[in-house]
């Protein structure tokens, strides 16, 4: 299969235009594709908005034509289908912040998955942070906090559902990225992408194996533990959250015992109140575990699932320990008890963002099939919750978020991209429909939603970005070093920890960001702000624009985005990168540069199963927008959606929203 997502912007608009033209022609005989219905009173207006993360317009168009996506096709025929301009950079936390606030990064302050602390040059997750309690009573090794630790959402700007709340319009937002901890609200909301597991990471699995643990090397996103079975039994420990009640800050853990049958492919795990008997290849139900900080006084409840990959030799995967929705250790919903209400209604569910365990697949813990099965479980949980909300949806807005169209596509793009370093006809034969299967599932979700809300409701399917193959990596820190902008001393450890800042002018952090080492902003700045910095930024941007991939001779960057110029009407933020790199399709910044490290080569093949991506240029990865109303704008953008939803309820968007309503008024 060719790079089906690779329709050029012009091709796409032509196809979309033809579709619109066909609609216009058919309108005479069929009453029109876009409906013009008298508007219901505000109090009874309904809007169903489905957020399909990463839904790619090229793939949708291709599979719609092949008849695989009847409900998406029906929706497009009822109204419009447009490519949707994402954020710059088109990364999920940034893009979803655009959607939520109707603002661009210069307004909401999220520029990347990863921001850097200019005082330490260290990375941190951009959307939230946790600060420990400052007032603490110390009793020997025991530390009793006299105040709650603070979890802060860094995204600025009011969410559209809170603007709706001010005007009396109810909204339920079932899972939303870039909203952890949830923005205070009277509406029902529950957070997704950006919600950590109980360890405070984006998801840290545990893997217990009889194989030597060092066989797996340095595992990112998980821990591998060696277990020694004796007479068919072994003791092990599941590591949980940091214990802030101890001076040592050691992690709280839960001991457990594993029994493996001598001959049969079964094992039993005895952990707290559970005795879980699993056959090879089976998943457990959710287990609710208590991690004690101070026995009987303080602890945290977490949930996890187990997967017995193999009994002989023993290979047991335990999912990241998620925040328990029935008893959340950190805020994940508004009102506070909404997560528990959902749990009570539809059963326990993943609460961490990026619940599909891509790391386990990348690290060779999961096979392709095992990952797909786990991703399906995540999807089934979401469908259950969506259907529950749909059943009680009377008026206002119902937003539901689905992540499979992002994370499965990240991992399986290699199956539909013949130019991928990992592509093979055998792989395509075996797993070539993995992405299509996800799209089909989402199409069914849309069908369920459309049937339930009726014809008068506004129905919208949107995605934060599309997809591109990720074939080659570009290591920006290595390039900066070899171009003389960054001086790194020899030695071990992260590159930026070894930087000679007095002789360094710029550095990379995040997937698309480049920062000047600015005097007064960075701790050891060397470039004065003003003309010197502006000249440097122009110089680096010009050089980057000319960088070509030595393997293909192609330019790797479509645009280099000067933020000072772009956001000139707003005061500069400390977190704002000075340049944002917009990669061409097929190229992306390296994993190493994203966290301030440096790869061994500037250009390298991407041999990770993470083979599709969207951290490119906005125009390389348009998102999708399908609506049962006519969209008047030929090139709508994510920031237009919040004002559009508000306009549906006759609410004037707040002044800081940059987008415009895009639907024809009816």
């Amino acid at each position: 299969m060719s790079d089906t997502g690779g329709l050029s912007r012009r091709q796409f608009l032509r196809i979309a235009g033809l579709g619109a033209g066909a609609c216009a022609l058919g309108a005479a005989g069929l009453g029109g594709c876009s409906r013009s219905v008298p508007r219901a009173p505000v109090a009874s207006r309904k809007a169903l908005i489905l957020g399909f993360d990463g839904l790619d317009p090229g793939l949708v168009r291709t599979w719609m034509k092949a008849g695989h996506l009847p409900n998406l096709e029906k929706l497009a025929k009822m109204g419009s289908f447009r490519a949707l301009r994402s954020s710059m950079p088109p990364q999920s936390p940034v893009a979803w912040s655009n959607f939520i606030t109707g603002m661009d990064p210069g307004g909401h302050g999220i520029f990347d998955f990863i921001h850097r602390d200019p005082a330490s040059y260290g990375p941190y997750l951009s959307t939230s942070s946790t600060s420990a309690a400052r007032r603490i009573l110390r009793l020997g090794d025991l530390r009793l906090p006299l105040e709650a630790p603070e979890v802060t959402l860094h995204r600025k700007g009011p969410a559209f559902w809170n603007v709706l709340a001010e005007h009396g319009v109810p909204a339920t937002v079932y899972k939303i990225p870039s909203n952890f901890p949830p923005e205070p609200s009277r509406q029902r909301t529950i957070s997704d992408l950006g919600t950590p597991d109980l360890q405070g990471s984006y998801g840290h699995f545990s893997y217990f194996t009889e194989e030597p643990a060092d066989r797996y090397g340095d595992v990112s996103g998980g821990s591998v533990y060696h277990v020694n079975l004796s007479d068919g039994a072994a003791d092990a420990t599941l590591v949980g959250p940091e214990n802030a009640f101890r001076a040592s800050q050691e992690r709280a853990d839960v001991p457990f015992r594993i029994y493996v049958d001598r001959d049969n492919p079964v094992a039993r795990v005895d952990i707290q109140d559970y005795r879980v008997l699993l056959q090879e290849g089976e998943w457990s139900d959710w287990l609710r575990l208590r991690f004690n900080f101070v026995t009987g006084l303080a602890g945290a409840s977490g949930i996890c699932r187990m997967f017995l990959k193999s009994a002989h030799p023993l290979e047991l995967y335990i999912s990241p320990v998620n925040i328990d929705p029935a008893d959340p250790a950190m805020p994940i919903s508004t009102p506070d008890d909404y997560a528990a209400e959902l749990e009570n209604a539809v059963g326990t569910f993943y609460t961490q963002g990026m619940a599909e365990d891509t790391k386990a697949l990348s690290q060779g813990i999961f096979t392709d099939g095992e990952f797909i099965e786990q991703a399906r479980d995540v999807h089934r949980e979401r469908v259950r919750a969506f259907e529950f909300e749909l059943d009680r949806f009377q008026d206002g807005v119902l937003f539901a978020y689905f992540s499979g169209s992002d994370l499965v596509v990240h991992m399986f793009y290699r199956t539909i991209d013949p130019k991928s370093p990992l592509y093979s006809p055998e792989l395509a034969e075996k797993q070539g429909e993995a992405i299509l299967d996800v799209y089909r599932e989402l199409d069914r979700v849309l069908g369920t939603g459309m049937d339930a809300v009726g014809d008068d409701a506004l129905v919208m399917v949107m995605s934060d970005h599309g997809f591109s193959p990720y074939r080659r990596s570009f290591d920006l820190n290595r390039w900066l070093r070899e171009s003389g902008y960054l001086t790194v001393d020899a030695g071990e450890g992260p590159a930026l920890d070894r930087a000679d800042w007095a002789r360094s002018k710029a550095y990379a952090m995040g997937f698309n960001g480049l920062y000047v080492n600015e005097v007064g902003r960075e701790a050891e700045g060397s470039v004065p702000p003003g003309p010197a910095k502006e000249k440097l930024v122009e110089e680096i941007a010009a050089e980057l624009a000319e960088v070509r991939d030595p393997a293909t001779g192609e330019r790797i960057l479509r645009r280099v985005f000067n933020t000072e110029r772009q956001y000139a009407d707003r005061p500069p933020e400390e977190v704002t990168p000075d340049l944002v790199l917009g990669y061409e399709r097929g190229y992306r910044g390296s994993w190493e540069s994203a966290i301030g490290e440096m790869a061994s080569e500037i250009h390298a093949d991407n041999t990770d199963k993470w083979s599709g991506d969207h951290c490119m240029d906005t125009e390389a990865v348009y998102g999708s927008l399908l609506c049962n109303r006519e969209i008047r704008d030929e090139e709508p953008a994510l920031i237009d959606l919040a004002p559009t939803i508000l306009a549906h309820y006759d609410v004037t968007p707040p002044g800081n929203m940059r987008g415009e309503p895009i639907l024809h008024s009816t």
Partner: protein
């Protein structure tokens, strides 16, 4: 002793069975109300009312003394001691009525636990079945087999020689009372298992064990395991049940205590009970 326990359990079993017949919720309310009434009746007919009155007066006097003489530490301590002594006397005075009801109550509550402490395996869901073998049965561990009617044994056996256990996971596909058959060293042993039957009061037998006094009093009534079998215990891991009292879900014992207390407070003035 075993015979008394057996008859007590049998009587409690009949009583609870009759009371639970309208359904689990109604049955629990009736049992709780009768418990409250029975405790009040026991206090009326067996308690030393004068001793109770004396103890209560002593407690009241001590409380009054504490309020009036809070500026005088010596008197305060003396009154606090009188308060403790009064409370102890009150408890001693309450022992006789409690002794009168405790044994039947334990027998009834043990039966109630079988109705309200567990719930049948939901149809289509799984439960663990564990067999504990005797020391003599360790040799049979690796030949143990489990089968059942209307019950699917989902997994092969997991044998644990160190603990003398063998377990399987079962799934019931139809509601009703089914039978599991264990083949252990050529001896066939049956165990009941219940699935579904939502909304009905069902007496469950989480385990079948060898005969014993405790089993005589607290057991489910399922026949003890045969003496010649090499099994010590067969256990079906039913899901725990919780009772909804308004918006709060709790163990049935707390619900019973709350309801029994309400019933006792209602009948206290009617029976003119001194407590």
């Amino acid at each position: 002793m075993s015979a008394i326990a057996y008859w007590l359990r049998t009587a409690a079993g009949w009583l609870v069975s009759a009371l639970m017949s309208p359904g689990p919720t109604a049955g629990l309310v009736v049992v709780s109300a009768l418990t409250g009434v029975a405790v009040m009746a026991a206090f009326k007919y067996t308690a030393d009312r004068r001793a109770l009155r004396r103890a209560k007066d002593a407690i009241q006097a001590a409380l009054l003394g504490i309020v009036l003489f809070r500026h005088d530490t010596r008197v305060m301590f003396a009154e606090e001691w009188r308060l403790v002594r009064g409370a102890l006397e009150y408890m001693v005075a309450g022992l006789r009525p409690l002794a009168a009801v405790i044994i039947p109550m334990v027998a009834i509550f043990a039966q109630l636990e079988l109705y309200c402490g567990w719930q049948p395996i939901p149809v289509g869901e799984s439960a663990l079945v564990t067999v504990q073998v005797t020391d003599d049965g360790l040799g049979d561990l690796f030949q143990a087999e489990l089968s059942g009617n209307a019950v699917e044994v989902e997994t092969p056996a997991l044998r644990i020689p160190a603990t003398g256990e063998v377990c399987w996971r079962i799934r019931a596909d139809q509601p009703g009372e089914h039978t599991l058959t264990l083949d252990l060293g050529g001896t066939r042993i049956e165990k009941s298992v219940v699935a579904g039957m939502e909304g009905r009061a069902v007496r469950l037998s989480p385990h079948r064990v060898r005969s014993g006094a405790a089993e005589m009093l607290f057991g489910s009534g399922e026949a003890p395991l045969p003496a010649d079998a090499n099994a010590q215990r067969i256990e079906v891991e039913y899901p725990h049940a919780l009772v909804a009292v308004g918006p709060i879900r709790m163990h049935w014992i707390w619900a019973t205590l709350i309801l029994a207390t309400i019933a006792a407070l209602i009948v206290k003035p009617i029976l003119r009970v001194e407590i």
